[in-house]
């Protein structure tokens, strides 16, 4: 069987796994689900060299081009990523990697999101 997989389909799947992981984390007994999520992530890494990153909590400034940010609040300084709407997806090739999907994030000051 010859099955051709489009990279964008894989990115879409990874975005869904990211959502799944996020929801399972919020569940009180989400560990069972998270185990499968981790396995899926490993499969993506082994078979397609694709991994995703959740940059929530990381500092944000104008030199970060791995994410597209929607800035909240009225301050443009000392920003952090307060929420990740889409993760950063990387494709590894040997010891280096490329960003194949920029993350989409909301950045603001730490106190922005109650």
């Amino acid at each position: 069987m010859h099955l051709e997989v489009q990279p964008k389909s894989l990115f879409r799947l990874l975005n869904q796994i990211f959502e799944l992981e996020r929801k399972a984390t919020r569940l009180a007994d989400g560990e069972n689900v998270l185990r499968q999520v981790r396995r899926m992530k490993e499969l993506f890494e082994e078979d397609f060299q694709l991994t995703y990153e959740d940059p929530t909590g990381q500092p944000f400034n104008e030199t970060r081009t791995d994410v597209e940010a929607r800035l909240a609040g009225d301050s443009a300084e000392n920003l952090v990523i307060v929420e990740t709407l889409k993760p950063v997806i990387r494709f590894s090739h040997g010891p280096t990697s490329s960003i194949v999907q920029k993350g989409i994030v909301v950045a603001g000051t730490r106190t922005e999101q109650p």
Partner: protein, 832 residues
């Protein structure tokens, strides 16, 4: 005129800009090297000495409006300028447009220079505005700028897509972008020329308004029903509002739903947030296509009204139009196409990519335009070659590294830019100076390759001898080799005078490396005395092993003859070790008392083995083996004792052979014997490892129990916390079986215990009584007497802090031999 055609087409849009090139019958739309998008937001920002153009600038548009400018195209040809707070000056729309054009030049991956281009302008632009656009092109280094109206460009793209000529007659170009709307009536006039006959537009109507409506009218009311919110909409929309971050998220979700509704009859919005009372809302809202269409219909109808206005103004019936050509990203919405077709009564043409059509059309037009001679003749000489001397860590475990460089050559008026190859970092365009620096964020456990570019005044690439920055993070170490073994200094152990190793540079440290430590001189070296010496022996091998089992990689002897004054026992020497990438060891000793520095470079190819040292170490090793045999027998460890006896024969032979060597022995015997000595010492270490660890363990347990008791009874919160931290390491250190680590932990406990003890009156009194009994021996009798009297008074008045100070002063009056009573004389003459 030359035979060369212009070929480059640029859509310098109000909201977004695009660059394309005609090449052998095809048009290629260039992509932004960062993110690979075909469109570049026409937004310019000036933040922290950087020029940002495009997506990054747009992100800061709302939060930093005093430094970021957008929609400046609307002001082209006016005297208005934009005040930029961070620069302390204003920028004209022409200057800002030039920056967008310069950025687009960077999209040309083929490396061609952009000397000539067709740049599009709205149909509404007058002569002054057109000239201003031309000027922007020239400021960007484009010597020949040919202007083309946007509706004409779109029409050309359409004609080429359909691969047939446009029929004589009229049509409309309907351009609904992200933030603006334009409609133009285009006609082929008698001589076959395309002409924009009329136009209408709204500078504040586009796809972003649809997103906002969906968020405001659908998502927000549903959110209010799911949770408890007070004054939600104002709190969402205000930049200082409590829920402003959620508003940005709602806008993103609305845009996503809008795109989904272009090809599905319903879309789901998945929202998780908290409400005013802190309750979590985890909801999925379904939006149907009809719901969305009802919502945006008034806005779409507004555009249809403008279409009708044009028709009425030009006395046209819908049947007079061949088609309405749909361009602009928002025309991808099926509802827009359907509504326009229904209301205007004219078929819509949706055959071209609406986001790039104008640039593509401009490129087709450019293919038929010849480059004027002036464009090449007037070419500026390329900037002189620049030399960049860069300094940065090539391998690191830090999350970011500082890049520093010194630039020589004609750098004035130039800029630089650093971009990470994976697309995750862009420094923006920064002014080039003689010395530059930039913090480079790194991807963990990966090679980080950055492209360094120097740009000329019009942002053209300038020749430079430095192009790439490579930093290995984490597990990779090819950018710098690692130290294969510990590098240590041999010192005397104060308790026994035995030699031991003190770590200077740890194994696996990334080279180049440096370290600095202070040691105490443990014997007085008299000025001029040849026989008095400090022996600084640098060793390579595990710091946990016996010194004899490690290799000597450097040796520096300091005799009294080299000193300008006496070096008293107890004074400090500062030892500095630098290890180059090629493992040259530069060893520097600074003798504080004499203000003298001694420096030695130990090349790795040269093995220093003084015969005197070898003989001494062999003798010590033999004594050690004897001691270990006695101890093993005492402990009934006959197996080890037997093995040690076998070993003793080897060491005895070694000691005899070493003693025979003269200092100037020219054979390689000294090296052979040194190897044998290391092998024997390693064997001693192996056979006695358990014993050493057991001894350390007993001392540790004793100190731990003592410390727990003291801290429990007399310690403060900080000391209790410190003790907890030290004891957390106990199991790890015990499991490691490493005697040195255990010894270090014991020392730390001992320091803590002593700190606590210095507040315990009984301890202070007993210490004072001891010092008072030593008074006759003290160096300055008058001072000693006065201190003892003051001490007695402090005891009587229970002034414990004062007594502690007196104790310290009395300690320093003791002769140094009494300060370190138990110290035996070692070989090196230095201790920690």
């Amino acid at each position: 005129m030359s035979n060369k055609t212009i070929n480059f087409g640029i859509d310098l849009g109000t909201t977004n800009s695009v660059i394309a090139k005609f090449d052998q019958g095809q048009v290629e739309v260039f992509k932004n090297p960062s993110g690979h998008k075909e469109t570049l937001p026409s937004v310019v920002g000036f933040r922290k000495e950087r020029i940002l153009v495009g997506d990054k600038a747009r992100e800061f548009l709302l939060t930093d409006p005093k430094s970021v400018v957008a929609t400046f195209k609307r002001k082209m040809g006016t005297t208005e300028s934009f005040s930029i707070e961070s620069l302390g000056q204003s920028k004209t729309p022409v200057e800002l447009s030039a920056l967008v054009l310069k950025e687009l030049k960077g999209f040309i991956h083929s490396g061609e220079s952009l000397d000539a281009a067709v740049v599009t302008i709205p149909a509404s632009f007058d002569t002054v505005q057109s000239n201003a656009t031309k000027q922007a092109g020239q400021q960007a280094g484009i010597k020949q700028v040919v202007l083309l109206q946007e509706p004409i460009a779109a029409s050309l793209a359409y004609a080429n897509k359909k691969s047939k000529s446009l029929k004589a007659g009229s049509w409309l170009v309907y351009d609904l972008g992200g933030g603006t709307f334009d409609v133009a009536l285009v006609r082929i006039v008698a001589d076959g020329e395309l002409k924009v006959v009329d136009h209408e537009g709204d500078n504040y109507l586009g796809g972003a308004d649809f997103d906002q409506l969906l968020a405001e009218k659908v998502l927000v009311p549903r959110l209010e029903r799911e949770g408890q919110f007070d004054n939600l909409l104002p709190e969402l929309k205000s930049r200082s509002g409590r829920w402003n971050a959620l508003w940005e998220k709602l806008l993103f979700q609305a845009e996503k739903a809008k795109v989904e509704l272009s090809h599905a009859t319903s879309a789901e919005v998945d929202l998780a947030t908290k409400d005013d009372s802190g309750e979590t809302i985890d909801a999925v809202f379904e939006i149907t296509r009809s719901e969305f269409e009802n919502l945006v219909q008034p806005l779409v109808d507004k555009t249809v009204e403008m279409v009708r206005t044009i028709l009425t103004r030009n006395s046209l019936q819908p049947s007079d139009l061949q088609f309405i050509l749909m361009v602009g990203g928002s025309t991808l919405m099926p509802f827009v196409r359907k509504r326009v077709e229904e209301c205007a009564g004219v078929p819509v043409a949706c055959d071209i990519d609406p986001t790039t059509a104008i640039a593509i059309g401009a490129a087709y037009f450019a293919a038929g335009k010849q480059v004027e001679e002036i464009a090449n003749a007037g070419q500026a000489p390329s900037a002189a070659k620049l030399h960049v001397k860069a300094v940065y860590q090539k391998a690191t475990r830090e999350t970011e590294e500082m890049f520093n460089a010194k630039v020589s050559g004609q750098w004035q008026g130039c800029f630089f830019r650093i971009r990470r190859q994976d697309g995750g970092f862009d420094s923006g365009i920064k002014e080039l100076r003689e010395r530059i620096s930039e913090d480079l964020p790194l991807v963990a456990d990966s090679y980080n390759i950055f492209r360094f570019e120097v740009l000329g005044p019009t942002h053209e690439r300038v020749l430079c001898d430095f192009e790439s920055i490579q930093i290995a993070h984490g597990k990779y170490s090819v950018a710098g080799q690692l130290l294969p073994e510990d590098i240590c200094l041999q010192i005397d152990f104060t308790d026994t005078g035995e030699a031991r190793l003190d770590l200077l540079a740890q194994r696996n440290t990334l080279l180049p490396a440096r370290s600095k430590k202070t040691y105490t001189v443990n014997r007085t070296i008299l000025k001029g005395a040849a026989e008095d010496a400090l022996h600084l022996i640098v060793k390579e091998g595990s710091a946990d092993d016996l010194p004899e089992s490690t290799k000597t990689v450097g040796y520096l002897q300091l005799t009294g003859r080299q000193l300008t004054r006496d070096l008293p026992k107890g004074t400090d020497i500062e030892v500095k070790l630098e290890i180059s990438e090629s493992r040259d060891l530069t060893f520097t000793v600074y003798v504080e008392a004499c203000d003298q520095e001694f420096r030695e470079v130990f090349a790795p190819t040269f093995r220093e083995v003084p015969t005197q040292t070898l003989a001494y170490e062999s003798r010590c090793l033999l004594e050690k083996v004897d001691d270990e045999i006695t101890t093993a027998v005492d402990l009934d460890n006959f197996e080890s004792a037997e093995e040690l006896k076998h070993l003793k024969k080897r060491v005895t032979d070694l000691e005899k052979e070493a003693a025979k060597l003269t200092p100037d022995d020219s054979t390689d015997d000294r090296y052979k014997l040194e190897d044998e000595k290391r092998r024997c010492a390693a064997e001693v270490g192996r056979l006695t490892k358990g014993k050493r660890f057991d001894t350390e363990r007993r001392q540790f347990e004793e100190m731990r129990d003592r410390c727990e008791l003291l801290v429990g009874e007399h310690g403060n919160d900080r000391e209790r916390k410190h003790l907890d931290e030290l004891l957390k390491r106990e199991s790890y250190v015990l499991e490691s079986g490493n005697a040195r680590r255990l010894e270090e932990l014991t020392e730390q406990l001992s320091t803590l215990a002593f700190t606590v003890l210095r507040r315990v009156p009984e301890f202070l009194q007993s210490r004072f009584q001891h010092f008072a009994s030593q008074q006759p021996k003290m160096n300055d009798q008058t001072q000693a007497r006065s201190l003892v009297e003051a001490g007695r008074l402090a005891v009587a008045q229970q002034q414990w802090e004062k007594l502690d100070e007196i104790n310290i002063a009395l300690y320093h009056l003791l002769p140094s031999r009494d300060q370190q009573e138990a110290v035996k004389q070692g070989f090196t003459g230095i201790v920690k």
